[in-house]
Symmetry: C2
Subunit: 386 residues, 2 copies
């Protein structure tokens, strides 16, 4: 197994982009990643996308995007694990480079979510849950995460103020991210009094619906050392993926995300590190309580201490363990298939020392945790500066 | 890179299965593959599926199917390359085992196509083409393949009788396949006089809409030799994938399938063989002329000789190079995400000498060619008996 470097990253301004199609957005991100890396070709491509069929009436986007990117006949396929599709694409690219099958692999993600109505988008997103037992019964994602929030509050005494402070922190970080969909600050009061969505969750606890793409270029570390010296080197040292029951009713415990725990354990083992060795992380804050639950599940805080940790300021940019310096899904936006790749991009930019106004002081080793559905799947990567 | 064996295969009777859901079908195929292999666990899973979103309102089927198969928390993801999704799943499983990342990997495919109307299914399938430039202009797949058929007839003098004989041959093979959707013979006259679909293609030149699943179990050859001795050993010796322009109008030549040519070249190179070393093959006969075009594209026959080869009987079960002994997509059915895995299963059963009444005499090395859209992607695998 070869060590795998991330030599290029590419994003664009995310938002409600009515003047850009799925292919336009992906090309923009991919071109930026290719330019950032300085590569003159790609050997293979993986694209994470949750539901280009329901959102954009377009499947077969491996072929479509290889075609429009002008890189046919390389192998290119789409990979899907709901909102963890981007993380899954990174994992496959890592596997292909690590195994020696290909040298230069583009891993990307894209989702074009605003060409259908809000109701249709809510339905489409619900297909990441168990359609027969959840979606068709009217339980959509705010409802699922609301149940998890209630269970966490009941078991550990977590408060809505703690969850709300996640949104406040992530929006504060997002103000410094030029690509964020909603780069404005929000106050605790605004979050706690925003429109009710699914009790106890309110609008400003929920990540938005977003059009966006993200891309990164992977290659063997040796090749990166020889040829691609545009940036300080960053390496994927750990990768883990795990699944759990897709439906919430099948879980023994609603207060944790078992798939994240197991995916993180695998990634830690591969990287020969533990949660205390991580300097900062991007985690999947699709809802404010998800960030709290995940930071507990992957060992950053004891179970029940995730909420208090936010209140103590441990997870701010100058806290002990900065979480979601990019603004997270909440402020940066959540084009579901692209999110997992964008998380990797933030980690890489922080490791490189190229995160601009968002740059944190200690950034030697970062983690990215991507999640599908209500935790039916999770992908975790660990990256280090070399 | 480790050599990868296929130690178990599982199918079920395909058809218009109104009493079975996507998850039911997949579990049936997966259980059959697990029992066939004799494994007591799985390390990882890839599921090929083109459009569970549009066909069945269910994405995130990696999590769903791992859950219902009772194998969580293993990594499980869906992979999509339109009708080549099954082949793509096999390729990823091969990569994961070959690289040493996992030992026992389930690769499966599934598509539940008949829960929506025929019109809706036609639209859903059209999302494998370029939606903006083809689907939204009213060009669906019979129309795309009809244009390719016309071009081939114009350039090489291929005849509708030659194309029709593909359907006759494949239905004859399908009568011997207990899992085939349409296991009945058709006469040349019946094919040539069947209902017009898109000139010059008629109903019996087109593969059907099908509910179905297929699964196979992969492991390192060494492990297979030590532990899994239920069947004669079969090994994946070649794997290749390639893309081409997704839209037909962007191609320089409509009479060939460039992605199939390149995917096959890669697979031949990896297996250190050429087309003349292949004893038999499953190829992607989504339309009768596709089989002719593919057998030329992957080097079995000279360009323009694919039609005459059918007429000479070269591709029958007792011909020089038997093609689609399973009945092909035409008679066995075409649940798009499952097809690529089912092709591998037929090759494995022939190599093992376990193909029952379909068994051919010389089956030492077989090839499976799977295709997405009108050739926007193709995956080729070569398998050998050990």
């Amino acid at each position: 197994m070869r060590e795998v470097a991330v030599i290029g990253v590419g994003m664009h301004k995310w938002g409600e982009l009515w003047d850009m199609s799925l292919r336009n957005m992906f090309l923009l991100a991919a071109h930026n990643a290719i330019a950032d890396a300085g590569v003159d070709h790609i050997d293979s491509m993986y694209v994470g996308c949750m539901s280009c069929g329901l959102f954009a009436a377009q499947e077969h986007i491996g072929s479509l995007l290889a075609d429009y990117l002008g890189v046919t006949p390389i192998p290119a396929m789409r990979v899907e694990s709901a909102c963890a599709s981007g993380g899954a694409a990174v994992r496959l690219g890592w596997m292909e480079v690590a195994s020696g099958i290909s040298d230069i692999v583009l891993v990307g993600g894209v989702e074009k979510m605003t060409d259908i109505t809000g109701d249709e988008a809510t339905f489409t997103l619900s297909t990441a849950a168990d359609t027969e037992w959840e979606g068709y019964q009217g339980v959509t994602f705010p409802g699922l995460y609301a149940m998890m929030a209630r269970a966490h509050m009941e078991k550990y005494g977590s408060t809505m103020e703690q969850f709300s402070l996640v949104s406040v922190k992530n929006h504060a970080n997002g103000t410094l991210n030029p690509y964020a969909q909603y780069p404005f600050p929000v106050t605790l009061e605004a979050v706690m009094n925003s429109t009710k969505v699914a009790e106890p969750l309110r609008l400003l606890h929920c990540s938005p619906i977003t059009d966006g793409a993200a891309a990164a270029i992977l290659c063997p570390l040796d090749l990166a050392r020889q040829k691609f010296k545009n940036h300080p080197l960053t390496v994927i040292t750990g990768s883990g993926m795990a699944t759990d029951t897709i439906a919430l009713h099948s879980r023994a415990d609603l207060t944790t995300i078992k798939a994240a725990t197991i995916a993180a354990k695998k990634a830690y083992a591969l990287a020969s590190v533990g949660p205390r060795d991580i300097d900062f992380a991007e985690v999947h804050d699709c809802f404010a309580n998800a960030e709290v639950m995940v930071t507990e599940a992957i060992g950053f805080f004891e179970a029940g201490d995730g909420g208090p940790a936010v209140q103590r300021g441990d997870t701010t940019r100058d806290g002990k363990l900065p979480i979601n310096t990019s603004g997270g899904l909440k402020s940066k936006g959540h084009p579901v298939g692209a999110t997992g790749v964008a998380q990797i991009i933030e980690v890489v930019e922080q490791l490189r020392g190229e995160a601009g106004k968002r740059q944190i002081k200690k950034a030697h080793r970062g983690l990215a945790q991507n999640m599908g559905g209500s935790g039916g799947s999770s992908v975790v990567h660990i990256l280090e500066r070399r």
